[in-house]
Symmetry: C2
Subunit: 615 residues, 2 copies
């Protein structure tokens, strides 16, 4: 298939050319290249906002659809406007986009809200009049006066200023964090177009994901994902805490590991242009409370034992250089606000990203990662709790569990036999979280497992039961297990789902289900009154919601009200990076959130026990 060339004209930018495979949707192509046009409906042809003007493209103009008519005036149709989401690319095109809307960034968050661009970090070019015998204003005050910000330059920046000013002929680029001067750079002809970057970081217990954003346009330029290297000292937060207690340098070691990984990320972002690192002035970090403490190098031992006290839970800002992070030496690291020892900044960021705290109606947010954090609330009040779910749904503690990488089984179906799909269609290597949900639900439906969670034996199933399924019931280390994928049939190895795996799954789903019940009860409402169930994390994107309901993980009433929010922590961190208003909003979320401690809640224990069985 040939690729076609699309020339993009935009009033405020130089023209650019992109290529697109024949037949592809124009709206999707534009989105892929971060050339977002407004689309509250998300490209479904319902809102009429994604108008583009076709300046060249006779076949495309001729193919205008009747369904676009309601959204286009007669003048617009005559001028060649079409809705991008209704246009397949059938030929070379020249199209005209509206000016990138001033002050609007192009990250989509849940519900397709757009982030108004108002980053804390800005760069101002200042042209000063040089001093004279009649104007002996000191260097520092000369700059501060031009900025209108007296006292905004810290003494550390005094040292280089005289040379910077005179090298740049008293033209200066000032990087500001709000009203504080971060950096002073000699002005050049290119100063005005010098890039200004920020990084949003979702620092998870298992993985970290980073996003490089252009703070002058709001565009996402690059992404990075890696395993959290602290993993070698334990899969979960408790074993990491233990490591810091058992080794004198343990805390420093764990801090150093994750800082080194962040520096690898920065190096990766700079792989084509070494100047990228020094133009990154801000890192916004979301993550659970323990990961944030370990990155900052703060002790975590008091989080491990009752009453579970973090050193800090409000947001705070460090110098990147104080943490050994190799962005601009004057750059800052913002640690987003946390709620408690076990409900962290990742939850606050996810609440931000799904706009739960903006709505009059009450919604539920579930973030099933290594722990399960749950939030229930609205714009008035939010309740949260942490369900000690364990990492079953991340594939950890599952015998053949693995992360959601290519080759992971992600869905199974049990009819006459068991069939499965894998991520990327590659030979099966293990089970990821969504496979665990899928397997449990399918085993239950197929009668291979009792509601108590016990796997049946081939004898119990009886001879009428399909032989291929009966043949899958095996034992592993003397314990019952189901053969999910066989090496003989193309898998990388034999892959089992064991009785023990089912028990892990049961404990995890019971903890989450009980947590949801406690929050609903505390809020004085029923599941059916919940407007939306936001599912954060990769898990939320990939599980079958009906299967999750089937095993009792999610309330039945909400099966059709699920909205996946993807990486809510990462999205929230990006929002804060792109607009200081969201840092304020994150603080407001923290202020209106109440944390419920489940570990000592007798009600929780009752709900937990009641939730263990599959019904």
């Amino acid at each position: 298939m040939t690729d076609f060339t699309i020339t993009i004209q935009q009033p405020d930018r130089p023209p650019r050319t992109i290529t697109a495979p024949a037949g592809q949707n124009l709206f999707g192509i534009l989105r892929e290249h971060n050339l977002l046009v407004p689309s509250p409906c998300g490209g479904k042809g319902l809102c009429g906002k994604c108008k583009v003007r076709i300046n060249h493209g006779p076949r495309t103009l001729a193919a205008a659809l009747e369904s676009e008519s309601p959204f286009l005036s007669a003048e617009e149709r005559k001028a060649g406007y079409r809705l991008a989401c209704r246009v397949p690319v059938l030929e070379d095109l020249t199209i005209e986009l509206p000016a990138a809307e001033a002050g609007t960034a192009q990250i989509m968050t849940a519900g397709d809200h757009q982030v108004p661009l108002n980053p804390l970090i800005t760069r101002q070019v200042v042209q000063l009049s040089p001093p004279t015998i009649g104007d002996q204003t000191a260097d520092v005050e000369r700059v501060e006066q031009a900025l209108g910000l007296p006292g905004s330059i810290r003494p550390e920046l005094f040292y280089a200023l005289p040379a910077t000013l005179r090298d740049g002929g008293f033209s200066l680029a000032v990087v500001l964090a709000g009203e504080e001067v971060l950096a002073l750079e000699a002005g050049t002809e290119n100063t005005a177009v010098k890039p200004l970057y920020g990084v949003a970081l979702d620092l998870g217990t298992t993985t970290l994901a980073g996003y490089l954003l252009d703070l002058t346009t709001g565009r996402q330029l690059d992404t990075y994902a890696a395993l959290n290297p602290q993993q070698r000292y334990g899969a979960d937060v408790i074993s990491r805490i233990d490591y810091t207690l058992e080794h004198e340098q343990g805390l420093a070691e764990l801090a150093q590991l994750v800082r080194a990984e962040i520096n690898k990320m920065i190096a990766y972002f700079s792989r084509n242009d070494p100047a990228v690192a020094s133009n990154i002035y801000q890192l916004v970090v979301a993550g659970n409370t323990i990961m944030l403490h370990l990155l900052a190098g703060l002790e975590v031992k008091n989080i491990a034992v009752s009453p579970f006290i973090p050193v800090v839970a409000r947001d705070f800002t460090c110098r990147a250089s104080d943490l050994g992070l190799e962005i601009n030496p004057q750059g800052k690291v913002i640690f987003l606000p946390m709620i408690s020892g076990y409900v962290g900044a990742d939850t606050v960021a996810a609440i931000l990203a799904c706009h739960l705290a903006d709505q009059a109606e009450t919604s539920l947010l579930l973030d099933i990662g290594t722990n399960g954090e749950i939030a229930l609330g609205n714009r008035e009040r939010i309740l949260t709790c942490a369900a000690a779910a364990g990492p079953a749904f991340e594939g950890a503690k599952i015998r053949y569990g693995m992360a959601g990488l290519p080759g992971a089984i992600n869905r199974v179906r049990i009819e006459e036999d068991l069939t499965y799909t894998t991520i990327g269609g590659e030979p099966a290597r293990g089970l990821c979280g969504s496979a665990v949900v899928s397997l449990t639900a399918q085993l239950l439906n197929a009668g291979l497992m009792e509601p108590s969670g016990r796997l049946k034996t081939p004898d119990e199933l009886g001879d009428d039961y399909p032989a291929p399924l009966r043949a899958r019931l095996r034992t592993v280390d003397g314990k019952p297990a189901l053969l999910v994928a066989a090496q003989a049939e193309g898998a990388v190895k034999d892959i089992f789902f064991t009785q023990q795996d089912i028990r892990e799954t049961q404990l995890a789903k019971a903890a989450i289900a009980a947590g949801i019940r406690i929050l609903l009860k505390e809020m004085g409402m029923t599941a059916s009154e919940v407007k939306t169930l936001y599912l954060a994390g990769g898990f939320g994107n990939y599980i079958d919601h009906h299967e999750a309901v089937r095993i009792g993980l999610l309330p039945e009433e909400l099966a059709d009200r699920v909205v996946p929010v993807g990486n809510g922590a990462g999205a929230g961190a990006k929002m804060v990076l792109l607009s200081r208003d969201y840092l304020q909003k994150a603080r407001e979320i923290r202020a209106k959130t109440t944390y419920l401690e489940l570990s000592t809640d007798r009600d929780f224990q009752n709900h937990f026990v009641e939730s263990l069985e599959f019904r």
Copy 2:
């Protein structure tokens, strides 16, 4: 002579004992020991405020003077009250002083204003309720909430906080700089009475003087004076600047020298109690602009050449540890505001100390140190200039010049012969600044020198002229000179006042006189309209004002309106240390002050030439 013992009783303090040489004045003794009693008249017996009660001292009670009567009631006389300034110590005494006035510091400034105690640095003891499972507030927020200062703890302090809190049983001492937390210390039984110190530093080109103050009582506990060790790289600021230009590490070297001397001072203050250094949380520095730049390590090269631009002139605050100063590691160094490259924080501090900027009437402030800074103004507006007077009046560049140390000739008198006095009555070692003024005036009066400044020859004087004086006219290195003190008559060496010395004096006095004229003209007033002439610096305390008028250094009209302010820079720095209100006032002084650049002022050159002659 025997020393007597004086036992001091004071309602709010434990009794203490001091010793005093027989016959010494009680008021002076008390002041020496920082036991200040009020005395607007300065111990002259005119105000009656220095009442003390003699609880034991029969001879002293019997010797009560008639002149004290107007200030003492019959009851007071009966109860044993006397005026301290009228009491010579003749026996062992037990005396009772009034309570140290609460909240009033006991530094006297010009005009005997007292400083209301409101230091920026305070210590608060906070008793927190320990966390529970029902109150999981993080450590940082727990402290901030108790202080009522959210966000006031910097991340650097997070690290030690968990242990500090738990070691002190959740009792905590918080040292604050305004609303910013400086240090967090585990509470102990003694926390409430733990000392809290600050140091005021007058950093001069030639000398530095430091004052250790107790910030909880306002008392001055100790003093330190030393030569500025940078002197070895040049007596004046210009040669110091040159040194930084000619040596790659020159700036760092000069910074290091003065920082080391400050650390010697801190060590001296801690000589009896090593805990003193770590309880010093603030250093307030006054000094000229170049000395302040060198202490901060800021480059000075642009101050040396037109248009004479400092890096910074507003006040700024550094971490003491960033400068390598060995006070509490969290302690701060406040650099007081400066006006320009050649009118520094010493002048601002002196304006503060003499309250020139508080008065409706216009006064003149003259600080004759290594340079001559002049300020003329009132509470609305202040004009300043720097007269490039050179260090003649500090004894530098004077062939036999020396600082005002024991053995320095400080006053001469020429009648039939020349007689002189020395500081401390020791054998003459050289000439200090007041001797230079005195000699010039006396030479002029005695007709030994022409109004042009030329020394006469013995022949010109004629045979009628007193022979001892004629005999003093000699030559040194072939140039005319006056023998001031002869080794044969008890001086350490022959000491001359040379023709060249007279020329230096002439240039210096002309620069200052011309500066005063320029300021008066710019303010649109005459010398007779000036309310007070404040003379700052040791020089101001020791010169004979009439002699200074005689040589044309001071305006004739102000001879009787001179008020010496002593070390105005040191006094101003102390005021800022004791009350944050004075930091604000120092900023206001800077804001209302206009600097006049004399180096390019043609009017100044005219006035200068006109002022050269002695008339």
